[in-house]
């Protein structure tokens, strides 16, 4: 590929896994908005995996669930309870939306951990869109439900009067920073882990090239295994964090008073 480049015989291109490229055709082909790319493939696989889990898995509608149905019910109950506990009972009507976000992120994260996979959630375009969708949903819901009173979110009535304008500015800034942190947190976590794995993977074949490889190769393989285990944890935790923050923001929209 583009970074086919050797230094001391080792090949380093940890970021190549994130390159968006056309699925069909040659490597240098332009990527138009409609081009079927590796992103398309892995998004499609995500949809398929979610359908397998939540639609095919629950096909039996068994009172005593199968293993897959248990997982489907477990994820349903997990997010339902989260929405209810964090955002309140009246937030339950947003449950399908939040569940969609959670299932998409968690499934993309896990699929991205497969060898040779493309991790859609490691891309800023994807996480920014998700975060902005949450941001606009929350803002619009807030204004629709409470009108101008929604602005009370920025006016800390518990603080002394002289402090309130300053606090309001801080609150407004933090409100608009939300989608930034929301998106970069997910993308950064996913990207960093995958890149680190690739770096260690590049060290792994050193045993074929030099004597020091006797030491380096086992260490790098151990490091890959360890980071992979950590990444499995991170894959779930980041989906959880993204979802629970969505619930927290939604709570602000539904109950803007401090």
């Amino acid at each position: 590929m583009a970074t086919e480049e050797q230094s001391e015989g080792l090949v380093f291109h940890p970021m190549d896994q994130f390159i968006v490229k056309p699925l069909f055709g040659e490597a240098g082909d332009p990527v138009h908005w409609y081009t079927v790319t590796n992103v398309t493939l892995w998004l499609f696989l995500t949809v398929v995996a979610i359908s397998l889990l939540l639609v095919m898995g629950t096909r039996g509608r068994a009172v005593i669930p199968s293993k897959i149905q248990s997982v489907a019910e477990l994820s349903y109950g997990f997010i339902y309870k989260m929405v209810e506990d964090v955002a309140g009972k009246d937030a339950v009507r947003f449950f399908p939306y939040i569940f969609t976000v959670f299932m998409f992120i968690v499934m993309s994260n896990f699929l991205g951990l497969l060898p040779l996979a493309f991790t859609t959630t490691s891309h800023l375009a994807v996480t920014v869109l998700l975060a902005l969708a949450v941001f606009f949903t929350v803002t619009i819901v807030g204004f629709v439900l409470h009108g101008a009173k929604f602005l009370g979110l920025f006016w800390v009535s518990a603080a002394p009067l002289p402090l309130r304008p300053i606090l309001a500015i801080i609150e407004v800034i933090s409100y608009f920073v939300r989608p930034v942190s929301h998106s970069i947190r997910l993308m950064g976590n996913m990207m960093a882990g995958h890149a680190v794995i690739k770096v260690f993977a590049a060290f792994a074949p050193l045993i074929l090239l030099s004597g020091i490889g006797v030491l380096v190769t086992p260490l790098s393989i151990l490091a890959i295994s360890t980071i992979y285990a950590l990444e499995t944890l991170v894959a779930f935790i980041q989906a959880y964090v993204f979802t629970i923050l969505t619930c927290v923001y939604l709570k602000d929209a539904l109950h803007p008073s401090h």
Binding site: H32, F44, V55, R61, M103, T120
Partner: protein, 195 residues
Amino acid sequence: MAEHTTEAAEAATHAAEGEHGVEAAAHGGGEAVGMPQLDFSSWPNQIFWLVIALVAIYLILSRIALPRIAAVLAERAGTVTNDIAAAEELKLKAQEAEEAYNKALADARAEANKIIGEAKAEIQAELDDANAKADAEIAAKTAESEKAIAEIRENALQSVEEVAKSTAAEIVAALGHDADKAAIDKAVDANLKGA
């Protein structure tokens, strides 16, 4: 670090060479150096397909998966509630059965006691009856015996009298006297009474 910079530079050159055409150059060689995430030329593509995927997931979940799972969970909750109620009912029934059993046992015991009492009373009655009969018989026999004894005694006394009289007469005769029978009888009677 210096090595890394060289790498990057080399990579950039390589990319410019490798990716023929102006298009790749316009991308700023983003595929080779830096983060592909910041190669904004791929954003429309990603966003387009992401929106399609999210809408698909949302429709699949909200139309099929979520109502189904909710129904299954509700059904399960109902089943569990029903089963608990049924178990409660069965428990009550078991308690009732135990009570009935205990009652039957107590009844049977009472009945048995009653029967035993009756049998005892019956036997007692029979025993008393037999005792009474035996007593009566014994009394009758005793009376009879006494009568017989009295008779025997009377006979014996009478015999004694007769023997005494005849003996006295014989003695008087032997003494050479012509005994007057009436006088002898009188004398013997007087002696017997005196004795």
